[in-house]
Amino acid sequence: MKLEGIAIDDTFAEAFGMRGTRLVITADSLPWAEVAGRSMTGFATSVIGCGLEAGIERALVPEETPDGRPGIAVLLFAVSRDALAKALRDRVGQCVLTCAGTACFGGLMSADQVPLGRTLRYFGDGHQAAKRIGERRYWRIPVMDGEFLCEDQVGIQKAVGGGNFLILGRTRPGVLAAAERAIAAMNRVPEAIAPFPGGIVRSGSKVGSRYKFLPASTNDAFSPTLRGVVASELGPEENAVLEIVIDGLSDKAVAAAMQAGIRAACAGGAADGILRITAGNYGGKLGAYKFALRELLA
């Protein structure tokens, strides 16, 4: 199968079940909401090393936020309910509570809830106050610029992490340009994020390593400088590879993001130096979700 003259491998991306949530962060201005969002989604590329995968889903206009101020929606994913609850507490506590003028709300309606404000409230040292408005409960925590308002609990749900595809091409600039197009397209897909820097990962990994202490190591089969040294997956002209990893609140969201990303990556055609699109998997034995590239693009 070819898309705009670019080969699409007959393979699939293998993804895993996770727990995910959406937070809405508001502030006096959109740039300050983004500052809080970038801060809390920093060092959140992979659950392996960060315990959390997160990204900014989109900006919100005042009409979309609970307090009528500009805001952002942030998606966060972890391997379990407890891990997600702990990460939320730590990251909201360190990156949102601390950020000028912000407030934090749950952005997911779900019966399954984890504590947020009720664990952060102790920062108020006894001066915190609960406030119920409608059906939702908040904590008002006094801080030096007024009050930090944080929802008592936030909804979480089952989610999907680890959807992916790889862009293979002749040159690194060409592959990077294609990956940037993909991310720009994927940013318009709701309920999905690409957690790596700029949405793109260059250090794709394989499971295990020759070192006992290291559970994941470089994906040598796709490392062009090792072609000829290891059992390489790369063709003779494939000199650069970039991967895009996708987490979503549902398999449909991950599939939609992959579809949008691959189509955008291929939009420049083979003339752009892009040669092939493939995906990472573990033979289908580990992940609960499989996204066949050719089926996605059919």
Binding site: T26, P66, D67, G68, R69, A103, H127, A129, A130, K131, R132, I133, G134, Y138, R140, G146, E147, L149
Partner: protein
């Protein structure tokens, strides 16, 4: 909908506890007509006092000058009651859910010991709105009360949870011994508001007659939670009142007790 139309002004008070949607739901019109009521100290039946028409579908309408009909909607947990006129004392006593709309004014003790649901009064409310029963540790414990006009003394005494919105003025001792919850007053608030309050918020948009000396001025603030409150009150259909909720001056108190409550007043 079952419509109960008062045949004539009542010579004595009656208690309308039985006339709630969930009790009427399983009854025919004849059975509703035969329900017992006490007219003063004399036994009576619904048909002696009301014309009954319609079928039960979770909605009840009471038509007429009902100032002597007490305890309308007491204990109800679902459905709706609409009163086309005034209502008597203890409207919505211990109500747990559903909605009551009164197109007039109500007497003493509306929303006493309210646990949930929505009570909407177009006119004025008497003393003791959304308070507790005598001797009770707490008053209203959930739900929403909206009063278009003014309210008497001791609104929300020992309020534990829920929202009370009054478009007009409120009498003395509003929010006294308040435990938590929110009271919003559009008009002037009487003296000694929030006296002995432990927690909770009283938003007095028309100012207050006198602030107790056990409340301390914390300055003017644009609080995020007030933005949520404004939006919530807008959704309740009180947009003109809601738009007045802006930056307010915060007085913390009552320092004579726990002191974690607040009076929020115009700047």
């Amino acid at each position: 909908m079952i419509r109960l139309t008062l045949k004539a002004p009542l010579p004595h008070r009656i208690a309308a506890d039985r006339l709630i949607p969930e009790r009427l739901a399983a009854l025919s019109t004849r059975e509703v007509e035969r329900l017992p009521l006490a007219l003063g100290n004399r036994p009576a039946q619904v048909a002696d006092l009301f014309h009954v028409e319609g079928t039960a579908d979770g909605a009840v309408e009471i038509v007429g000058p009902c100032r002597r009909v007490d305890r309308i909607g007491a204990g109800m947990s679902g459905g709706t009651i609409t009163v086309r006129g005034d209502a008597g004392a203890y409207l919505g006593l211990g109500m747990r859910g559903g909605g009551i709309t009164v197109e007039g004014s109500v007497d003493f003790g509306a929303a006493t010991a309210l646990e949930g649901g929505m009570l909407r009064i177009s006119g004025d409310a008497g003393d003791g709105l959304a308070g507790g029963l005598p001797g009770a540790v707490r008053g209203m414990n959930g739900g929403t009360v909206l009063v278009g006009g003014s309210a008497g003394a001791a609104v929300g005494q020992r309020l534990r949870r829920g929202l009370i919105v009054i478009g007009g003025a409120a009498g003395a001792c509003c929010g006294s011994e308040m435990i938590a919850g929110t009271i919003v007053i559009g008009g002037t608030l009487g003296a000694d508001a929030g006296i002995a309050m432990r927690r909770g918020s009283i938003v007095a948009l028309g100012g207050v007659d006198r602030i107790a000396p056990t409340f301390v001025d914390c300055g003017v603030h644009d609080l995020v939670w007030l933005r949520l409150l404004r939006r919530h009150i807008e959704l309740l259909g009180e947009a003109r009142l809601a738009e007045r909720i802006q930056s307010l001056r915060r007085f913390a108190g009552d320092a004579a007790v726990v002191g974690r409550g607040e009076l929020l007043l115009p700047r």
